[in-house]
Symmetry: C2
Amino acid sequence: MTRQQLKDLAQLSRSKGRRQQGRFLVEGVRSVEAAVDAGAPVEAVLVTAEAAGDHRVAALLERTGAVVHTVAARDLDRVGDARTSQGVLAVSRSVVGDGAGPVDAPVLLLDGVQDPGNVGALVRTAAWFGVSTVVGDEDTADFENPKAVRASMGGIWDVALVRVPDLGASLDRLAGDGVALWGADLGGTSVTEWAPGRSAALVMGSEAHGLSDAVAERLRHSGGGLVHIPGAEGARGVESLNVSVAGGVLLARWLG
Amino acid sequence: MTRQQLKDLAQLSRSKGRRQQGRFLVEGVRSVEAAVDAGAPVEAVLVTAEAAGDHRVAALLERTGAVVHTVAARDLDRVGDARTSQGVLAVSRSVVGDGAGPVDAPVLLLDGVQDPGNVGALVRTAAWFGVSTVVGDEDTADFENPKAVRASMGGIWDVALVRVPDLGASLDRLAGDGVALWGADLGGTSVTEWAPGRSAALVMGSEAHGLSDAVAERLRHSGGGLVHIPGAEGARGVESLNVSVAGGVLLARWLG
């Protein structure tokens, strides 16, 4: 690879670089395996000579149809995170859509979920339970952020991913299609009584502030509403669950 | 504070320092608030002059019975993580026991959960659902690791925390007391059919390898067994759920 190509790839750790180039990085043996085995649009695989000598990596390189570049370890480290890549990374074309096409239920929507680890874990959980589409607004961490990709553990290849400026239009369209809109909150229906059916959408709010007002307002008029996960009496110190844990509890009840 | 005192506190970001000194750091306004409001054994609060001027921090400093030290921002940054502490950190005496005393059910046991963020999220979830005791083995990340403390969001003050060299003796004692032992796995009873009752214990295994063989063996003879969370058909890319998400799903079903 040329200096310039490596420099371009290094830009993919940042949101701006990913947007400009329309591609992103997949780091580490397990993540690259998941991409290759899912038929992801992988353009290239970069590998160090040392990693290529590994049995599992060698098998992976034989399976991929993408161009394989053997690069020096220091060059690979300039592109990705050395600890994560362990000598292997793939470059994939973006898989995130803009939501202009139809959005199939069951849908999970993320309303300002800021931590890439949470976004990735939510995509992983959504894939596990058979969610069709995960939609993120512009305050939600990028699905193709390296930490989100890693935390999704291959889930990004199993669900349709959509990114929109804000969730309003998506929610209005879903409601127009007869999809019941639900949002995770600290009040409303208890998850133990909750049975939304498959033609529904669930919104998870931000780690610090929960659902935005505009989103909560829309849920009231959609045949859905708010759903909460009751805690034990006397859990004084803890005010809420982690957003990916809460998402897991709700998706398990809904689709499990 | 003297140079030496600050140097000692800086050792608390490491496991060895915490073990030697029997105390740990609580960083950031929310976490220190949770500690003070839960009556945690806080020895001292360190705050920058700038942070002390904040309304919320000032109220917090009035509530705590601990000694308050105003320190320079660069000194605080030497002790804790600047991004996390936001000018405030507390020093608490250790709250982790050695399991020599009685261990009350419901119990959550961690069998080599290595990521401090997962350990903290599991403690947070355990506190939310009213688990009495969380036990970690020596391959599990330290409950008092700064990342685990932060991820627990105050949960460490609501549950009894125990650290043991390995889980074998704890499981044998629980089984001897008639507590049913369950372990999260990819097979066994489906969570949708699972109803362990309160006098039970649940073991979560490591992120990469699940339950250790020695633990899985013990579950078979305890009136419990293995429990799994079924995924959707065709979720090809994703092999499992994140351990804190799986823990949330199981605890919600068990105690929710």
